[in-house]
């Protein structure tokens, strides 16, 4: 059923692009094509990547031999797809013990990471110059941060991999030292690991800090690291977030086409324009928007767009009648884009976000209903 739905999604998106190519009779259609074709390609790529989930999850579970790990060209392609997919589960790596150097060395640091391909890729890329070991634990192909929050990156998974190997293969000392990613600590009980005879060390938050960290033994706890959600981080997640929003606006424009509007009609361009503007502006301006709550930030951004739309309508650039559905739609989209960003943000507080969602989702839904009612009324009058 799921595969059938995915296939249907792909076919409809391909059809969407082809129809757009055939229907190039006006300037607005040309603009629509310029927006829709890259959008369709991105959405298609997104859907294609979904089919690759768990593609690498077939490995012999009884194999207890440390394996060398190298970065191949295909790993860059997989990392790219994982990025486009918004760091969701895309490709998995076989859990187990790996080494980056020419030979397996008991005296090299043992770094723990998730079996999410991108996690392994980023860590390996940073430590390949050094002779390090990687203990890849089975997080079901989920990244370290998300897996830790969901109980998939924790003591159970770490110990299960350690128990796979004879202790003398892991260390010649009494206590086995493990470098843990700080992002995974919401799932790891350090005390319980110590009781198991391990010597866990909390390492850096970010893989980019690993070379410096590893270059100054003995390895100690990395206490000073702190999450930064600056412009660079927000730009990095902009495109994956935009792909999700493009998929939603593509579905909306397709639905509008079903009621008789040709592809590239102003209403469709409006929907894509509003959602794309919100999707780009929100992450870029996130700390600058004068509000604390995600939904309010989205609402404020939407109000700016509404002001521009209304100004254009009063100047005669767009239909005044269309504002009856454009305004509530833009406000609803602003709230949704704001709340959708909670999943991409590194600063989402659970209790506050929950209160926002319970309050603002019904408001957004009500505005969408108002927008739809206005759209149907305008259609009937037309």
């Amino acid at each position: 059923m799921r595969k059938a739905l995915e296939l249907l999604g792909k076919l409809s998106l391909m059809g969407f692009g082809v129809i757009g190519l055939l229907d190039e009779t006006s300037m607005s259609n040309t603009i629509a094509l310029a927006l829709l074709i890259p959008g369709s390609v991105l959405v298609g790529l997104l859907l294609l990547s979904v089919t690759f989930v768990k593609a690498d999850q077939f490995w012999p579970s009884d194999d207890a031999t440390p394996r060398p790990i190298r970065i191949r060209p295909v790993d860059y392609a997989k990392a790219f797809v994982a990025w486009l997919h918004g760091f969701r589960r895309t490709y998995a790596v076989a859990p187990g013990l790996y080494y980056t150097g020419d030979h397996y060395d008991l005296d090299t640091p043992l770094l723990v990471t998730a079996n999410y391909h991108l996690s392994v890729f980023l860590v390996t890329r940073r430590v390949r110059a050094a002779n390090a070991r990687l203990l890849v634990i089975d997080t079901d192909g989920i990244n370290v941060w998300c897996a830790a929050g969901k109980g998939r990156f924790g003591n159970e998974q770490i110990l299960s991999q350690i128990d796979r190997y004879p202790r003398k293969l892991l260390t010649a000392k009494i206590h086995l030292s493990l470098v843990l990613p700080k992002f995974g600590m919401s799932g790891v009980d350090l005390h319980a690991l110590r009781q198991y005879g391990l010597a866990p060390v909390v390492g850096p938050l970010y893989a980019k800090d690993l070379p410096d960290y590893l270059s100054t033994p003995p390895l100690r706890h990395r206490r000073v690291d702190r999450v930064h959600f600056g412009l660079q981080s927000r730009v990095f997640i902009l495109l994956p977030g935009l792909i999700q929003l493009t998929a939603l606006s593509a579905l909306l424009t397709a639905a509008i086409s079903l009621v008789g509007y040709p592809l590239g009609a102003p209403i469709q361009l409006g929907v894509i324009g509003v959602v794309t503007t919100l999707g780009v502006a929100y992450p870029l301006l996130f700390p600058l928007i004068p509000a604390r709550r995600f939904a309010i930030k989205g609402l404020l951004l939407a109000l700016v767009i509404v002001t521009v739309l209304l100004s254009m309508a009063f100047l005669g650039a767009v239909s005044l009648l269309s504002m009856w559905f454009a305004v509530p739609f833009t406000l609803a989209a602003g709230i949704l884009v704001g709340l959708e960003f909670t999943g991409n943000s590194a600063v989402s507080n659970y209790s506050r976000v929950k209160r926002e969602i319970v309050l603002f989702i019904p408001i957004s839904a009500l505005m969408l209903v108002c927008s739809l009612t206005a759209f149907i009324t305008v259609e009937v009058l037309r």
Binding site: G86, F87, R88, R89, T139, D140, G141, I142, N143, C146, A147, A148, G149, K150, G151, R152, G154, K182, F183, M185, S186, G187, V188, D189, L190, H191, V202, L205, H221, R223, V224, D225, R226, V227, L339, E340, T342, G343, S345, A346, V347, S348, N349, Y350, S351, R352, V353, K354, I357, V358, I361
Partner: protein
């Protein structure tokens, strides 16, 4: 929501060590909420506090996860072998 019961705290510094946002710091030998606003309620400090001095309303601050647990009653638990990731990462 995060809170610290100072009477239980022994100043072991585990909370300071595991917090990704450096919300908790050690002052005068005890855990102190230095930047409560930055807390994302990941629960790392609570899990690593042997004295049970820290309590956190742990959860995933993400639209899909919260919508699921609020309206679909589909809250993920660590016992879930399928690792249903509310925010779509799994």
């Amino acid at each position: 929501m995060i809170s610290i019961d100072s009477s239980r705290c022994t100043g072991c510094k585990n909370c300071d060590l595991v917090c990704p946002h450096r919300v908790v710091e050690i002052r005068d030998g005890l855990a102190f909420l230095a930047a409560e606003d930055r807390c994302i309620e990941c629960g790392a400090c609570q899990l690593n506090c042997r004295q049970a001095a820290i309590s956190v309303t742990k959860g995933t601050g993400c639209l899909v996860a919260i919508a699921r647990e609020t309206w679909l009653r589909n809250r993920h638990t660590s016992d879930d072998s399928q690792a249903q990731c509310g925010c779509g990462c799994g």
